[in-house]
């Protein structure tokens, strides 16, 4: 007997809120991508908890794909961050004002 689904969803929700906070408030491109990773992780916890609740392996299968997609998105995202840094010399999104 372990925690109920409500408590698992609460933990996942708090983690998701922390990830959103990191992605929205921090003025650093790398912290924004880190916030996205935290959000994906929180959702994975919710999926595995739901898989345990309904004894269905679909939740765990989806987490496998979340892992793969997160790896893809981080590699391309960091490549873009490095390229943007080379173009503008800073990680602050407010300094990307070449269109002005």
């Amino acid at each position: 007997m372990t925690a109920s689904l409500g408590q698992i969803l609460l933990v996942a929700g708090i983690l998701f809120a922390l990830g959103v906070f990191c992605a929205v408030v921090r003025r650093n491109l790398i912290m924004i991508v880190l916030g996205i990773e935290i959000m994906l992780n929180a959702v994975s916890i919710a999926f595995v908890g739901a898989a345990l609740r309904w004894s269905n392996l679909e939740g765990q299968a989806f987490v496998l794909f979340i892992l793969a997609v997160a790896a893809t998105e981080v590699s391309v995202g960091l490549a873009m961050v490095v390229y943007a840094f080379r173009r503008t010399g800073s990680f602050d999104p407010a300094s990307f004002n070449l269109l002005k």
Binding site: F21, A61, L67, R86
Partner: protein
């Protein structure tokens, strides 16, 4: 309260604490290392909820590859730290609305979860061995696996294209801007 419920509370506290510390760090390397702690905790949660293969994959892929990639980028590029304290009251307009709305959302989420009928009962412990999990995935989702392999190929091509040969024109632009 059973032993596994106590374990769940303990691991959740560590995960939330480590994540909370990670998002408030000035030093990016510290933030990434705290996040690695958080992912270890998540892997333990996966193991507790009966997904041992996912726990291993989380440590290998998430903490072992993705966070190391972050560390490569952070250590390769010299980053000047953000000016002043991050969450100073003088610039409260940057983070206070986010916190306020986030708290409102959390209250609503807690109320919604508490009102849903089937949420209160403790969960029976089950575990899916890697063999069972693999059989399930390859039986029902084999096509998605093929699509994901294509996606990874695209990611390799994209990363090579974006980070490939140095663009001399871009470097010249930056040199000129640096001299101004």
């Amino acid at each position: 309260m059973s032993f596994y419920t106590f374990l769940f509370y303990l691991i959740s506290a560590v995960v939330i604490g480590a994540t909370g510390v990670a998002i408030t760090r000035q030093n990016l390397v510290h933030a990434v290392v705290y996040l690695i702690f958080s992912f270890f905790g998540t892997a333990m949660l996966f193991y507790l909820f009966g997904a041992p293969l996912l726990a291993a994959l989380e440590i290998i892929i998430y903490a072992g590859a993705i966070m190391v990639l972050f560390l490569f980028v952070v250590m390769m590029i010299k980053i000047e730290p953000e000016r002043g304290a991050i969450f100073s009251l003088a610039r409260a307009g940057e983070w206070l609305p986010a916190v306020a709305f986030g708290l409102i959302y959390m209250v609503v989420a807690v109320l919604l979860i508490a009102r849903t009928p089937g949420m209160g009962a403790g969960l029976k412990l089950l575990a899916a061995s890697p063999g069972q999990f693999a059989l399930f995935v390859f039986e029902h989702h084999w096509f998605s696996i093929e699509v994901v392999s294509m996606l990874l190929l695209l990611a390799v091509v994209g990363a090579l294209q974006l980070g490939g040969k140095r663009d001399r024109r871009v470097d010249a632009e930056r040199a000129v801007k640096g001299e101004e």
